[in-house]
Amino acid sequence: MIQHLPILPILLPLLTGALLLFSGEARHGWRALFALCATLAQLAVALALLAGTDGWIATPWRDGVVVYALGNWAAPFGIALVVDRLAALMLTLTAILGLAALVYALARWERAGSHFLPLFQFLLMGLNGAFLTGDLFNLFVFFEVLLAASYGLALHGSGAPRVKAGLHYIVVNLVASLVFLVAAALIYGVTGTLNMAELALIVPRLDADARALFEIGALLLGIVFLVKAGAWPLNFWLPAAYAAAAPPVGAVFAILTKVGVYALLRFSILFGQDVAPAPFKGNWLFYCGLATIAVGTLGVLAAQKLDRLAGFMVVVSSGTLLAAFGFTGTTLTAPALYYLTSSVLGGGAFFMLIEMAERNRAAAADLLAISFEAFGLQERHESEHSDEMAGVAIPAAMAFLGLAFFSCAAVLSGLPPLSGFVAKFALLKAAIAAPPAAPALQAGLLFAALLLSGLAGLIALSRLGIRVFWDSERPTPRLQWLEAGPVAGLLLLCFALAFGTGPAMTYFEAAARALHDPATYIGVVLPGARP
Protein backbone atom coordinates (compact mmCIF):
# COMPACT_ATOMS: atom_id res chain seq x y z
CA MET A 1 0.00 0.00 0.00
CA ILE A 2 2.68 2.44 0.99
CA GLN A 3 4.29 2.34 -2.45
CA HIS A 4 1.14 3.92 -3.88
CA LEU A 5 1.33 6.89 -1.54
CA PRO A 6 2.96 9.30 -4.06
CA ILE A 7 0.04 9.11 -6.51
CA LEU A 8 -2.60 9.89 -3.87
CA PRO A 9 -2.04 13.68 -3.75
CA ILE A 10 -3.09 13.72 -7.42
CA LEU A 11 -5.80 11.06 -7.35
CA LEU A 12 -7.61 12.25 -4.22
CA PRO A 13 -8.45 15.78 -5.39
CA LEU A 14 -9.16 14.53 -8.93
CA LEU A 15 -11.77 12.03 -7.74
CA THR A 16 -13.17 14.42 -5.13
CA GLY A 17 -13.50 17.19 -7.67
CA ALA A 18 -15.13 14.92 -10.23
CA LEU A 19 -17.64 13.56 -7.71
CA LEU A 20 -18.44 17.05 -6.43
CA LEU A 21 -19.03 18.16 -9.99
CA PHE A 22 -21.72 15.54 -10.47
CA SER A 23 -23.44 15.94 -7.12
CA GLY A 24 -26.14 18.57 -7.25
CA GLU A 25 -25.64 21.92 -5.56
CA ALA A 26 -28.66 21.17 -3.37
CA ARG A 27 -27.04 18.89 -0.82
CA HIS A 28 -24.80 21.61 0.46
CA GLY A 29 -23.83 20.24 3.86
CA TRP A 30 -22.77 16.87 2.56
CA ARG A 31 -20.72 18.37 -0.23
CA ALA A 32 -18.90 20.62 2.21
CA LEU A 33 -18.24 17.71 4.54
CA PHE A 34 -16.99 15.56 1.67
CA ALA A 35 -14.62 18.25 0.37
CA LEU A 36 -13.37 18.84 3.91
CA CYS A 37 -12.69 15.14 4.51
CA ALA A 38 -10.88 14.81 1.17
CA THR A 39 -8.67 17.79 1.94
CA LEU A 40 -7.93 16.40 5.39
CA ALA A 41 -6.97 13.11 3.77
CA GLN A 42 -4.62 15.00 1.45
CA LEU A 43 -3.01 16.63 4.44
CA ALA A 44 -2.56 13.21 6.04
CA VAL A 45 -0.99 11.82 2.85
CA ALA A 46 1.31 14.82 2.55
CA LEU A 47 2.40 14.45 6.18
CA ALA A 48 3.02 10.73 5.63
CA LEU A 49 5.20 11.55 2.62
CA LEU A 50 7.00 14.19 4.66
CA ALA A 51 7.68 11.66 7.41
CA GLY A 52 8.58 8.94 4.90
CA THR A 53 11.15 10.97 2.98
CA ASP A 54 12.77 12.14 6.17
CA GLY A 55 12.93 8.66 7.67
CA TRP A 56 10.63 9.22 10.67
CA ILE A 57 8.53 6.24 9.67
CA ALA A 58 9.99 3.05 8.31
CA THR A 59 9.68 2.89 4.52
CA PRO A 60 11.48 0.95 1.82
CA TRP A 61 12.51 4.26 0.22
CA ARG A 62 16.19 5.02 0.27
CA ASP A 63 17.96 8.38 0.45
CA GLY A 64 14.74 10.27 0.99
CA VAL A 65 13.79 10.07 -2.69
CA VAL A 66 10.99 7.90 -3.96
CA VAL A 67 9.92 7.29 -7.55
CA TYR A 68 6.45 6.24 -8.57
CA ALA A 69 6.35 4.81 -12.08
CA LEU A 70 2.83 5.24 -13.44
CA GLY A 71 1.56 2.02 -15.01
CA ASN A 72 4.83 0.44 -13.88
CA TRP A 73 6.68 1.73 -16.93
CA ALA A 74 10.29 2.43 -15.96
CA ALA A 75 11.40 6.02 -15.81
CA PRO A 76 12.63 7.32 -19.15
CA PHE A 77 9.78 5.62 -21.05
CA GLY A 78 6.92 6.02 -18.64
CA ILE A 79 5.77 8.98 -16.61
CA ALA A 80 7.50 9.21 -13.26
CA LEU A 81 6.43 10.97 -10.09
CA VAL A 82 9.29 11.83 -7.79
CA VAL A 83 8.96 12.72 -4.12
CA ASP A 84 11.89 14.13 -2.25
CA ARG A 85 12.00 16.28 0.86
CA LEU A 86 11.36 19.50 -1.02
CA ALA A 87 8.38 18.08 -2.91
CA ALA A 88 6.95 16.64 0.32
CA LEU A 89 7.36 20.03 1.99
CA MET A 90 5.52 21.79 -0.82
CA LEU A 91 2.76 19.16 -0.77
CA THR A 92 2.29 19.70 2.95
CA LEU A 93 2.19 23.47 2.56
CA THR A 94 -0.39 23.13 -0.23
CA ALA A 95 -2.57 20.86 1.88
CA ILE A 96 -2.38 23.11 4.96
CA LEU A 97 -3.15 26.25 3.01
CA GLY A 98 -5.84 24.46 1.01
CA LEU A 99 -7.51 23.21 4.18
CA ALA A 100 -7.47 26.66 5.79
CA ALA A 101 -8.83 28.36 2.67
CA LEU A 102 -11.50 25.69 2.23
CA VAL A 103 -12.77 26.04 5.79
CA TYR A 104 -12.81 29.80 5.41
CA ALA A 105 -14.66 29.56 2.11
CA LEU A 106 -17.30 27.25 3.56
CA ALA A 107 -18.47 30.03 5.87
CA ARG A 108 -19.81 32.18 3.04
CA TRP A 109 -17.58 32.64 -0.02
CA GLU A 110 -18.26 29.22 -1.43
CA ARG A 111 -21.83 30.29 -2.17
CA ALA A 112 -20.77 33.44 -4.04
CA GLY A 113 -20.73 31.51 -7.31
CA SER A 114 -21.11 28.02 -8.66
CA HIS A 115 -18.65 25.13 -8.61
CA PHE A 116 -16.26 26.54 -6.06
CA LEU A 117 -15.60 23.18 -4.39
CA PRO A 118 -14.73 21.15 -7.53
CA LEU A 119 -12.55 23.95 -8.94
CA PHE A 120 -10.77 24.20 -5.63
CA GLN A 121 -10.01 20.46 -5.66
CA PHE A 122 -8.70 20.68 -9.23
CA LEU A 123 -6.46 23.56 -8.21
CA LEU A 124 -5.04 21.42 -5.42
CA MET A 125 -4.56 18.57 -7.89
CA GLY A 126 -2.64 20.80 -10.29
CA LEU A 127 -0.45 22.14 -7.49
CA ASN A 128 0.30 18.68 -6.10
CA GLY A 129 1.03 17.33 -9.57
CA ALA A 130 3.39 20.18 -10.41
CA PHE A 131 5.35 19.50 -7.24
CA LEU A 132 5.44 15.74 -7.80
CA THR A 133 6.16 15.31 -11.48
CA GLY A 134 9.55 14.27 -12.73
CA ASP A 135 8.73 14.93 -16.35
CA LEU A 136 8.86 18.20 -18.28
CA PHE A 137 5.70 17.73 -20.30
CA ASN A 138 3.70 16.64 -17.28
CA LEU A 139 4.88 19.76 -15.55
CA PHE A 140 3.18 21.63 -18.41
CA VAL A 141 0.02 19.56 -18.06
CA PHE A 142 -0.21 20.12 -14.31
CA PHE A 143 0.53 23.82 -14.79
CA GLU A 144 -2.42 23.91 -17.17
CA VAL A 145 -4.65 22.03 -14.72
CA LEU A 146 -3.86 24.42 -11.91
CA LEU A 147 -4.14 27.45 -14.17
CA ALA A 148 -7.45 26.35 -15.66
CA ALA A 149 -8.84 25.88 -12.15
CA SER A 150 -7.33 29.19 -11.04
CA TYR A 151 -8.99 31.02 -13.97
CA GLY A 152 -12.34 29.79 -12.73
CA LEU A 153 -11.51 30.62 -9.12
CA ALA A 154 -10.12 34.07 -9.93
CA LEU A 155 -13.49 34.90 -11.47
CA HIS A 156 -15.40 33.33 -8.56
CA GLY A 157 -18.07 35.73 -7.42
CA SER A 158 -17.91 37.62 -10.73
CA GLY A 159 -18.17 41.41 -10.84
CA ALA A 160 -16.50 43.89 -13.18
CA PRO A 161 -13.13 44.28 -11.35
CA ARG A 162 -12.69 40.50 -11.14
CA VAL A 163 -13.49 39.95 -14.80
CA LYS A 164 -11.15 42.74 -15.87
CA ALA A 165 -8.23 41.52 -13.75
CA GLY A 166 -9.05 37.92 -14.63
CA LEU A 167 -8.92 38.68 -18.34
CA HIS A 168 -5.39 40.01 -18.07
CA TYR A 169 -4.40 37.11 -15.82
CA ILE A 170 -5.74 34.53 -18.28
CA VAL A 171 -4.17 36.09 -21.39
CA VAL A 172 -0.74 36.50 -19.79
CA ASN A 173 -0.76 32.93 -18.51
CA LEU A 174 -2.00 31.55 -21.83
CA VAL A 175 0.90 33.18 -23.65
CA ALA A 176 3.25 31.82 -20.99
CA SER A 177 1.81 28.35 -21.55
CA LEU A 178 2.45 28.63 -25.31
CA VAL A 179 6.05 29.62 -24.60
CA PHE A 180 6.30 26.63 -22.26
CA LEU A 181 5.16 24.36 -25.12
CA VAL A 182 7.76 25.79 -27.49
CA ALA A 183 10.43 25.28 -24.84
CA ALA A 184 9.38 21.71 -24.09
CA ALA A 185 9.23 20.83 -27.80
CA LEU A 186 12.61 22.40 -28.47
CA ILE A 187 14.20 20.54 -25.57
CA TYR A 188 12.64 17.28 -26.72
CA GLY A 189 13.76 17.90 -30.30
CA VAL A 190 17.36 18.36 -29.17
CA THR A 191 17.68 15.76 -26.42
CA GLY A 192 15.02 13.19 -27.28
CA THR A 193 13.71 13.01 -23.74
CA LEU A 194 11.38 14.86 -21.42
CA ASN A 195 12.36 13.10 -18.22
CA MET A 196 14.06 15.61 -15.96
CA ALA A 197 16.63 13.16 -14.59
CA GLU A 198 17.54 11.89 -18.05
CA LEU A 199 17.82 15.48 -19.32
CA ALA A 200 20.40 16.13 -16.62
CA LEU A 201 22.40 13.17 -17.94
CA ILE A 202 22.13 14.01 -21.64
CA VAL A 203 22.76 17.75 -21.52
CA PRO A 204 26.50 17.57 -20.71
CA ARG A 205 27.03 15.31 -23.74
CA LEU A 206 25.39 17.61 -26.30
CA ASP A 207 27.59 18.97 -29.10
CA ALA A 208 27.88 22.71 -29.69
CA ASP A 209 25.02 23.06 -32.21
CA ALA A 210 22.55 21.06 -30.18
CA ARG A 211 23.76 22.84 -27.07
CA ALA A 212 22.89 26.23 -28.56
CA LEU A 213 19.36 25.05 -29.37
CA PHE A 214 19.00 23.54 -25.91
CA GLU A 215 20.04 26.81 -24.32
CA ILE A 216 17.30 28.62 -26.26
CA GLY A 217 14.78 26.07 -25.00
CA ALA A 218 16.04 26.48 -21.44
CA LEU A 219 15.85 30.26 -21.82
CA LEU A 220 12.19 30.08 -22.83
CA LEU A 221 11.55 27.72 -19.93
CA GLY A 222 13.19 30.18 -17.55
CA ILE A 223 10.95 32.99 -18.85
CA VAL A 224 7.85 30.87 -18.23
CA PHE A 225 8.86 30.04 -14.67
CA LEU A 226 9.64 33.69 -13.99
CA VAL A 227 6.18 34.70 -15.25
CA LYS A 228 4.64 32.18 -12.87
CA ALA A 229 6.89 33.31 -10.03
CA GLY A 230 5.87 36.92 -10.57
CA ALA A 231 9.39 38.22 -11.16
CA TRP A 232 9.84 41.78 -12.38
CA PRO A 233 9.31 42.77 -15.23
CA LEU A 234 6.90 39.92 -15.87
CA ASN A 235 4.56 40.54 -12.94
CA PHE A 236 2.35 43.49 -13.82
CA TRP A 237 -0.69 41.23 -13.98
CA LEU A 238 -0.16 39.86 -10.50
CA PRO A 239 -1.27 42.47 -7.92
CA ALA A 240 -4.53 43.27 -9.69
CA ALA A 241 -5.48 39.62 -10.19
CA TYR A 242 -4.63 38.66 -6.61
CA ALA A 243 -6.35 41.70 -5.13
CA ALA A 244 -9.52 41.15 -7.15
CA ALA A 245 -9.81 37.43 -6.37
CA ALA A 246 -12.15 36.28 -3.60
CA PRO A 247 -10.24 36.12 -0.27
CA PRO A 248 -9.99 32.32 0.13
CA VAL A 249 -8.85 32.16 -3.48
CA GLY A 250 -6.26 34.86 -2.86
CA ALA A 251 -5.03 32.81 0.09
CA VAL A 252 -4.39 29.75 -2.10
CA PHE A 253 -2.88 31.95 -4.79
CA ALA A 254 -0.20 32.81 -2.21
CA ILE A 255 1.35 29.44 -3.06
CA LEU A 256 0.81 29.73 -6.82
CA THR A 257 3.83 31.97 -7.35
CA LYS A 258 5.88 29.52 -5.32
CA VAL A 259 5.29 26.90 -8.03
CA GLY A 260 7.33 28.98 -10.44
CA VAL A 261 10.07 29.44 -7.85
CA TYR A 262 10.00 25.70 -7.14
CA ALA A 263 10.35 24.80 -10.83
CA LEU A 264 13.23 27.23 -11.28
CA LEU A 265 14.99 25.79 -8.24
CA ARG A 266 14.42 22.22 -9.35
CA PHE A 267 15.79 22.81 -12.84
CA SER A 268 18.72 24.99 -11.89
CA ILE A 269 19.98 22.42 -9.42
CA LEU A 270 19.25 19.31 -11.46
CA PHE A 271 21.56 20.50 -14.20
CA GLY A 272 24.41 21.17 -11.78
CA GLN A 273 26.34 24.41 -11.76
CA ASP A 274 28.96 23.51 -14.35
CA VAL A 275 26.71 22.11 -17.07
CA ALA A 276 23.62 24.21 -16.44
CA PRO A 277 22.40 26.16 -19.44
CA ALA A 278 22.83 29.90 -19.19
CA PRO A 279 19.29 30.68 -17.99
CA PHE A 280 19.71 28.55 -14.90
CA LYS A 281 23.04 29.73 -13.65
CA GLY A 282 24.94 32.89 -12.94
CA ASN A 283 24.02 35.92 -10.95
CA TRP A 284 21.20 37.27 -13.02
CA LEU A 285 18.57 35.46 -10.95
CA PHE A 286 19.89 37.28 -7.89
CA TYR A 287 19.59 40.70 -9.52
CA CYS A 288 16.21 39.79 -10.99
CA GLY A 289 15.09 38.95 -7.45
CA LEU A 290 16.45 42.27 -6.16
CA ALA A 291 14.56 44.19 -8.86
CA THR A 292 11.40 42.27 -7.93
CA ILE A 293 11.88 43.16 -4.26
CA ALA A 294 12.39 46.82 -5.19
CA VAL A 295 9.25 46.98 -7.34
CA GLY A 296 7.25 45.07 -4.75
CA THR A 297 8.45 47.40 -2.00
CA LEU A 298 7.44 50.50 -3.96
CA GLY A 299 4.08 48.87 -4.62
CA VAL A 300 3.64 48.08 -0.93
CA LEU A 301 4.31 51.72 -0.03
CA ALA A 302 2.03 53.03 -2.75
CA ALA A 303 -0.85 50.60 -2.17
CA GLN A 304 -3.98 52.38 -1.03
CA LYS A 305 -6.00 49.32 -0.21
CA LEU A 306 -5.21 46.31 1.91
CA ASP A 307 -5.90 43.78 -0.85
CA ARG A 308 -3.46 45.42 -3.27
CA LEU A 309 -0.98 45.64 -0.42
CA ALA A 310 -1.33 41.88 0.02
CA GLY A 311 -0.71 41.39 -3.72
CA PHE A 312 2.50 43.37 -3.55
CA MET A 313 3.53 41.46 -0.41
CA VAL A 314 3.39 38.32 -2.56
CA VAL A 315 5.67 40.03 -5.10
CA VAL A 316 8.15 40.95 -2.37
CA SER A 317 8.25 37.42 -0.99
CA SER A 318 8.71 36.04 -4.51
CA GLY A 319 11.58 38.45 -5.09
CA THR A 320 13.20 37.51 -1.79
CA LEU A 321 13.08 33.84 -2.74
CA LEU A 322 14.53 34.48 -6.20
CA ALA A 323 17.33 36.59 -4.74
CA ALA A 324 18.10 33.94 -2.11
CA PHE A 325 18.18 31.12 -4.65
CA GLY A 326 20.23 33.22 -7.06
CA PHE A 327 22.81 34.07 -4.41
CA THR A 328 26.24 32.67 -5.14
CA GLY A 329 26.78 29.39 -3.33
CA THR A 330 24.23 27.07 -1.83
CA THR A 331 24.18 28.16 1.80
CA LEU A 332 21.04 30.24 1.39
CA THR A 333 18.82 27.41 0.19
CA ALA A 334 17.78 26.08 3.61
CA PRO A 335 16.93 29.54 5.08
CA ALA A 336 15.10 30.36 1.85
CA LEU A 337 12.95 27.25 2.27
CA TYR A 338 12.19 28.39 5.81
CA TYR A 339 11.26 31.82 4.45
CA LEU A 340 9.06 30.18 1.80
CA THR A 341 7.15 28.21 4.45
CA SER A 342 6.73 31.23 6.69
CA SER A 343 5.65 33.58 3.90
CA VAL A 344 3.15 31.10 2.44
CA LEU A 345 1.49 30.61 5.84
CA GLY A 346 1.55 34.31 6.73
CA GLY A 347 0.48 35.47 3.27
CA GLY A 348 -2.41 33.02 3.18
CA ALA A 349 -3.62 34.18 6.59
CA PHE A 350 -3.28 37.81 5.52
CA PHE A 351 -5.50 37.44 2.45
CA MET A 352 -8.29 35.99 4.58
CA LEU A 353 -7.77 38.41 7.44
CA ILE A 354 -8.06 41.59 5.40
CA GLU A 355 -11.46 40.60 4.09
CA MET A 356 -12.76 40.10 7.63
CA ALA A 357 -11.26 43.41 8.74
CA GLU A 358 -12.55 45.30 5.73
CA ARG A 359 -16.10 44.11 6.14
CA ASN A 360 -18.59 46.87 6.99
CA ARG A 361 -16.14 49.57 6.01
CA ALA A 362 -16.88 52.35 3.57
CA ALA A 363 -15.30 51.58 0.21
CA ALA A 364 -13.28 54.80 -0.01
CA ALA A 365 -11.99 54.73 3.57
CA ASP A 366 -8.53 53.45 2.67
CA LEU A 367 -8.10 55.91 -0.12
CA LEU A 368 -9.01 58.70 2.28
CA ALA A 369 -6.60 57.32 4.85
CA ILE A 370 -3.67 57.72 2.50
CA SER A 371 -4.64 61.17 1.28
CA PHE A 372 -5.26 62.34 4.85
CA GLU A 373 -1.71 61.45 5.70
CA ALA A 374 -0.27 62.81 2.48
CA PHE A 375 -1.85 66.21 3.00
CA GLY A 376 -1.58 66.33 6.78
CA LEU A 377 -5.32 66.56 7.29
CA GLN A 378 -6.98 65.60 10.52
CA GLU A 379 -10.19 63.75 10.59
CA ARG A 380 -13.04 65.54 12.25
CA HIS A 381 -14.17 63.01 14.73
CA GLU A 382 -10.89 62.63 16.57
CA SER A 383 -11.54 65.50 18.91
CA GLU A 384 -15.17 64.67 19.45
CA HIS A 385 -14.49 61.80 21.79
CA SER A 386 -14.17 63.11 25.30
CA ASP A 387 -12.55 61.44 28.27
CA GLU A 388 -15.55 59.45 29.34
CA MET A 389 -15.07 57.29 26.23
CA ALA A 390 -11.79 56.00 27.62
CA GLY A 391 -13.19 52.87 29.18
CA VAL A 392 -14.90 51.30 26.19
CA ALA A 393 -14.44 47.54 26.14
CA ILE A 394 -12.95 46.12 22.97
CA PRO A 395 -15.25 43.51 21.45
CA ALA A 396 -13.74 40.06 21.18
CA ALA A 397 -13.95 40.09 17.39
CA MET A 398 -11.97 43.33 17.19
CA ALA A 399 -9.41 42.03 19.67
CA PHE A 400 -8.94 38.90 17.60
CA LEU A 401 -8.68 40.84 14.35
CA GLY A 402 -6.19 43.25 15.84
CA LEU A 403 -4.01 40.49 17.26
CA ALA A 404 -4.15 38.52 14.03
CA PHE A 405 -3.30 41.61 12.00
CA PHE A 406 -0.34 42.35 14.24
CA SER A 407 0.87 38.75 13.91
CA CYS A 408 0.50 38.85 10.12
CA ALA A 409 2.39 42.14 9.96
CA ALA A 410 5.16 40.63 12.10
CA VAL A 411 5.40 37.54 9.89
CA LEU A 412 5.29 39.42 6.59
CA SER A 413 7.67 42.22 7.47
CA GLY A 414 10.04 40.07 9.50
CA LEU A 415 9.67 41.35 13.06
CA PRO A 416 10.32 39.25 16.13
CA PRO A 417 8.97 37.08 17.68
CA LEU A 418 7.33 35.24 14.77
CA SER A 419 8.70 33.04 12.01
CA GLY A 420 9.19 35.91 9.54
CA PHE A 421 11.93 37.32 11.74
CA VAL A 422 13.66 33.95 12.12
CA ALA A 423 13.49 33.47 8.33
CA LYS A 424 15.05 36.84 7.52
CA PHE A 425 17.61 36.47 10.28
CA ALA A 426 18.64 33.05 8.95
CA LEU A 427 18.88 34.42 5.40
CA LEU A 428 21.07 37.33 6.47
CA LYS A 429 23.23 35.14 8.70
CA ALA A 430 23.80 32.70 5.85
CA ALA A 431 24.58 35.60 3.50
CA ILE A 432 27.32 36.84 5.84
CA ALA A 433 28.72 33.38 6.46
CA ALA A 434 28.68 32.57 2.72
CA PRO A 435 31.99 31.34 1.36
CA PRO A 436 34.36 33.90 -0.11
CA ALA A 437 33.14 32.95 -3.58
CA ALA A 438 30.18 35.22 -2.93
CA PRO A 439 31.23 38.84 -3.39
CA ALA A 440 30.63 41.18 -0.46
CA LEU A 441 28.58 43.38 -2.77
CA GLN A 442 25.96 40.67 -3.12
CA ALA A 443 25.65 40.16 0.61
CA GLY A 444 25.37 43.92 1.09
CA LEU A 445 22.68 44.26 -1.55
CA LEU A 446 20.71 41.37 -0.08
CA PHE A 447 20.98 42.95 3.37
CA ALA A 448 19.72 46.30 2.12
CA ALA A 449 16.91 44.74 0.09
CA LEU A 450 15.63 42.52 2.89
CA LEU A 451 15.77 45.19 5.57
CA LEU A 452 14.31 47.95 3.43
CA SER A 453 11.48 45.75 2.14
CA GLY A 454 10.72 44.77 5.75
CA LEU A 455 10.70 48.42 6.82
CA ALA A 456 8.43 49.41 3.94
CA GLY A 457 6.07 46.53 4.73
CA LEU A 458 5.96 47.62 8.35
CA ILE A 459 5.26 51.27 7.47
CA ALA A 460 2.50 50.35 5.03
CA LEU A 461 0.90 47.76 7.31
CA SER A 462 0.92 49.95 10.39
CA ARG A 463 -0.41 52.92 8.41
CA LEU A 464 -3.35 50.99 7.01
CA GLY A 465 -3.73 48.99 10.23
CA ILE A 466 -4.14 52.16 12.31
CA ARG A 467 -6.84 53.38 9.97
CA VAL A 468 -8.65 50.07 9.94
CA PHE A 469 -8.50 49.14 13.62
CA TRP A 470 -8.39 52.44 15.46
CA ASP A 471 -11.28 53.87 13.53
CA SER A 472 -13.77 54.27 16.36
CA GLU A 473 -16.71 54.98 14.11
CA ARG A 474 -16.88 51.66 12.41
CA PRO A 475 -19.21 48.91 13.48
CA THR A 476 -17.69 45.72 14.80
CA PRO A 477 -17.64 43.04 12.12
CA ARG A 478 -19.45 39.84 12.90
CA LEU A 479 -17.12 36.88 12.72
CA GLN A 480 -17.92 33.22 12.48
CA TRP A 481 -15.79 30.52 14.01
CA LEU A 482 -15.35 29.02 10.55
CA GLU A 483 -13.70 32.21 9.39
CA ALA A 484 -11.62 33.09 12.42
CA GLY A 485 -10.44 29.50 12.90
CA PRO A 486 -8.33 29.08 9.73
CA VAL A 487 -6.60 32.43 10.19
CA ALA A 488 -5.83 31.61 13.81
CA GLY A 489 -4.63 28.16 12.76
CA LEU A 490 -2.24 29.49 10.11
CA LEU A 491 -0.85 32.06 12.53
CA LEU A 492 -0.43 29.43 15.25
CA LEU A 493 1.57 27.41 12.72
CA CYS A 494 3.78 30.48 12.24
CA PHE A 495 4.23 30.54 16.03
CA ALA A 496 5.04 26.85 16.03
CA LEU A 497 7.50 27.34 13.19
CA ALA A 498 9.22 30.10 15.13
CA PHE A 499 9.42 28.11 18.36
CA GLY A 500 10.34 24.88 16.58
CA THR A 501 13.00 26.53 14.45
CA GLY A 502 15.59 23.93 15.45
CA PRO A 503 13.83 20.81 14.13
CA ALA A 504 12.32 22.72 11.20
CA MET A 505 15.71 24.05 10.15
CA THR A 506 17.21 20.57 10.42
CA TYR A 507 14.58 19.37 7.96
CA PHE A 508 15.12 22.30 5.58
CA GLU A 509 18.87 21.73 5.69
CA ALA A 510 18.38 18.07 4.87
CA ALA A 511 16.09 19.10 2.01
CA ALA A 512 18.65 21.59 0.72
CA ARG A 513 21.47 19.04 0.97
CA ALA A 514 19.45 16.47 -0.94
CA LEU A 515 18.56 19.10 -3.50
CA HIS A 516 22.16 20.07 -4.11
CA ASP A 517 23.11 16.45 -4.62
CA PRO A 518 21.31 15.72 -7.90
CA ALA A 519 23.24 12.45 -8.32
CA THR A 520 20.98 10.79 -5.75
CA TYR A 521 17.85 12.05 -7.47
CA ILE A 522 19.09 10.86 -10.86
CA GLY A 523 20.25 7.54 -9.43
CA VAL A 524 16.86 6.79 -7.91
CA VAL A 525 14.86 7.85 -10.97
CA LEU A 526 17.11 6.05 -13.43
CA PRO A 527 18.71 3.13 -11.66
CA GLY A 528 21.67 1.87 -13.61
CA ALA A 529 22.35 5.13 -15.44
CA ARG A 530 25.85 6.47 -15.06
CA PRO A 531 26.38 10.22 -15.06
Binding site: F137, V141, E144, L147, A148, Y151, G152, L155, S158, G159, A160, V163, K164, G166, L167, H168, I170, V171, L174, V175, S177, L178, L181, V182, A184, A185, L186, Y188, G189, L194
Partner: protein, 115 residues
Protein backbone atom coordinates in the same frame (compact mmCIF):
# COMPACT_ATOMS: atom_id res chain seq x y z
CA UNK B 1 8.86 20.99 -47.36
CA UNK B 2 10.96 22.39 -44.52
CA UNK B 3 10.88 25.91 -45.94
CA UNK B 4 7.11 25.89 -46.40
CA UNK B 5 6.68 24.47 -42.92
CA UNK B 6 8.98 27.05 -41.33
CA UNK B 7 7.31 29.88 -43.25
CA UNK B 8 3.88 28.72 -42.12
CA UNK B 9 4.98 28.69 -38.49
CA UNK B 10 6.69 32.07 -38.82
CA UNK B 11 3.76 33.79 -40.53
CA UNK B 12 1.25 32.42 -38.07
CA UNK B 13 3.36 33.26 -35.02
CA UNK B 14 4.05 36.76 -36.37
CA UNK B 15 0.39 37.49 -37.09
CA UNK B 16 -0.54 35.98 -33.74
CA UNK B 17 1.82 38.23 -31.82
CA UNK B 18 0.67 41.28 -33.78
CA UNK B 19 -2.98 40.52 -33.00
CA UNK B 20 -2.15 39.75 -29.37
CA UNK B 21 -0.86 43.28 -28.92
CA UNK B 22 -4.01 44.89 -30.35
CA UNK B 23 -6.48 46.60 -27.99
CA UNK B 24 -9.65 44.63 -28.80
CA UNK B 25 -10.44 41.40 -27.01
CA UNK B 26 -11.54 39.69 -30.22
CA UNK B 27 -8.19 40.45 -31.81
CA UNK B 28 -6.45 39.09 -28.73
CA UNK B 29 -8.29 35.78 -28.90
CA UNK B 30 -7.64 35.45 -32.63
CA UNK B 31 -3.98 36.16 -31.95
CA UNK B 32 -3.87 33.52 -29.25
CA UNK B 33 -5.47 30.97 -31.57
CA UNK B 34 -3.01 31.70 -34.39
CA UNK B 35 -0.12 31.55 -31.95
CA UNK B 36 -1.29 28.20 -30.61
CA UNK B 37 -1.55 26.81 -34.19
CA UNK B 38 2.02 27.92 -34.79
CA UNK B 39 3.15 26.30 -31.54
CA UNK B 40 1.35 23.05 -32.38
CA UNK B 41 3.05 22.91 -35.78
CA UNK B 42 6.35 23.64 -34.09
CA UNK B 43 5.93 20.74 -31.66
CA UNK B 44 5.05 18.50 -34.59
CA UNK B 45 8.15 19.64 -36.45
CA UNK B 46 10.35 18.80 -33.50
CA UNK B 47 9.70 15.12 -34.21
CA UNK B 48 11.46 15.70 -37.59
CA UNK B 49 9.42 15.98 -40.77
CA UNK B 50 8.96 12.71 -42.63
CA UNK B 51 6.54 11.53 -45.28
CA UNK B 52 5.03 8.09 -45.38
CA UNK B 53 6.11 7.02 -41.91
CA UNK B 54 3.56 5.95 -39.33
CA UNK B 55 4.13 6.59 -35.63
CA UNK B 56 2.71 3.24 -34.52
CA UNK B 57 4.70 0.03 -34.95
CA UNK B 58 3.25 -2.23 -37.61
CA UNK B 59 3.90 -5.98 -37.34
CA UNK B 60 4.27 -6.30 -41.11
CA UNK B 61 6.96 -3.62 -41.39
CA UNK B 62 9.15 -4.75 -38.51
CA UNK B 63 10.43 -2.97 -35.43
CA UNK B 64 13.26 -0.90 -36.90
CA UNK B 65 12.75 2.61 -35.42
CA UNK B 66 14.12 4.17 -38.62
CA UNK B 67 10.96 3.09 -40.44
CA UNK B 68 8.67 5.04 -38.14
CA UNK B 69 8.02 8.64 -37.20
CA UNK B 70 8.65 9.76 -33.63
CA UNK B 71 5.33 9.23 -31.80
CA UNK B 72 6.08 11.39 -28.77
CA UNK B 73 5.67 14.85 -30.39
CA UNK B 74 2.44 13.67 -31.99
CA UNK B 75 1.12 12.66 -28.58
CA UNK B 76 2.30 15.97 -27.15
CA UNK B 77 0.60 17.90 -29.93
CA UNK B 78 -2.67 16.11 -29.22
CA UNK B 79 -2.47 17.07 -25.55
CA UNK B 80 -1.56 20.63 -26.44
CA UNK B 81 -4.46 20.92 -28.89
CA UNK B 82 -6.97 19.65 -26.35
CA UNK B 83 -5.71 21.93 -23.58
CA UNK B 84 -5.48 24.92 -25.90
CA UNK B 85 -9.00 24.31 -27.18
CA UNK B 86 -10.47 24.10 -23.70
CA UNK B 87 -8.71 27.19 -22.45
CA UNK B 88 -9.64 29.20 -25.54
CA UNK B 89 -13.29 28.29 -24.95
CA UNK B 90 -12.95 29.46 -21.35
CA UNK B 91 -11.36 32.71 -22.48
CA UNK B 92 -14.25 33.31 -24.89
CA UNK B 93 -16.68 33.14 -21.97
CA UNK B 94 -14.57 35.62 -20.02
CA UNK B 95 -14.47 37.94 -23.04
CA UNK B 96 -18.25 37.87 -23.30
CA UNK B 97 -18.56 38.49 -19.56
CA UNK B 98 -16.15 41.43 -19.79
CA UNK B 99 -18.10 42.83 -22.75
CA UNK B 100 -21.36 42.46 -20.85
CA UNK B 101 -20.10 43.97 -17.61
CA UNK B 102 -18.16 46.89 -19.01
CA UNK B 103 -20.03 47.60 -22.24
CA UNK B 104 -16.83 47.74 -24.29
CA UNK B 105 -14.56 45.21 -25.94
CA UNK B 106 -11.36 47.02 -25.02
CA UNK B 107 -8.90 44.82 -23.11
CA UNK B 108 -8.76 47.33 -20.25
CA UNK B 109 -12.56 47.33 -19.97
CA UNK B 110 -12.73 51.03 -20.80
CA UNK B 111 -12.29 53.06 -23.95
CA UNK B 112 -9.12 55.15 -24.18
CA UNK B 113 -9.85 58.87 -24.02
CA UNK B 114 -9.71 60.53 -27.40
CA UNK B 115 -7.81 63.75 -27.82
Amino acid sequence: MEVVFALAIGVMAGSGIYLLLRPRTFQVIMGLSLLSYAVNLFIFGMGRLRTGAAPVIDAARGTDPALYADPVPQALVLTAIVIGFAVTALLLVVLLAARGLSGTDHVDSREPERE
